[in-house]
Symmetry: C2
Subunit: 155 residues, 2 copies
């Protein structure tokens, strides 16, 4: 009773969640191609770099909190980035469990190059829209991100 009131067949191509999945899939493929090209990184690794660049000193757990990634995935991505010399970890003085993450000089450079290309995806994605529509989309997508946390409203 939401979309096709009188039709019991769900049209995939006009179902918004499905359309978002399709877009996300295409975006992920393109993102993966870019990060792969830049030194064999994968998307998880790129996200960790981006999260750390945004706020240096973030811990793995903070990265988990702000991205759609699991603890395990972040842990492995951090390890790979340490190995590649993109990231450095500094144990907290107050709490030995926390590892604050920072981009190395090498990581900074890689990040800058990567970020430019990643921005290109957004430009490409929104390229077909008018400036007004792009602004509208930004507003609406932002609203969805804030309101929809998944999980059937529990409680």
């Amino acid at each position: 009773m939401a979309v096709n009131p009188k039709d019991d067949i769900l049209r995939l191509d006009s179902n918004v969640p499905y359309q978002i999945s399709v877009l996300s899939h295409r975006i992920a493929r393109e993102t993966a191609a870019i990060t792969e090209r830049h030194g064999g990184l994968n998307i998880s690794q790129w996200r960790v770099m981006a999260a750390v660049a945004e706020r240096p000193g973030r811990t793995a757990n903070e990265v988990v909190a702000i991205t759609p990634m699991d603890k395990g995935i972040v842990s492995r991505a951090v390890k790979a980035l340490l190995d590649k010399g993109m990231l450095a970890r500094k144990a907290s003085n107050e709490d030995g469990r926390l590892g604050h993450l920072f981009l190395t000089a090498r990581g900074e450079k890689k990040y800058a190059a990567l970020a430019a290309d990643i921005r290109g995806i957004e430009a490409e994605l929104l390229g077909g829209l008018s400036a007004e529509d792009a602004a509208r989309l930004r507003r609406l997508i932002g609203a969805l991100c804030r309101s929809f946390q998944g999980g059937p409203q529990e409680a």
Copy 2:
């Protein structure tokens, strides 16, 4: 130079492709929970059922063409659905390679139940928007799906 003209740090939380990935991830988790609850289906299997329900007689290859799924994934999903008795396959008379897919009675029933819950996700997703905004979003997402095919404009 697209989003933060004077800032070389990319803000993940205002990057539209990233936001779409985040939403997609949440949607996928909720979809998976629903399909899992309905007889242990996974998302691929649900998508195949939906594609077949939409147009009975579709071949595996047609399903591949309209969904973000690989040949291999569709092949395995079809096999699982045949095993579960949700789907029937009828070889084409004209072309022995083609297998036309149909929902069985059991599949139809499962599909109807599933489709209702899946629609619920869209309702939940758009629930926080005004009717006007929901309509705008539909239009804009539809436009993106049509215009953005991923892959750096080749040719």
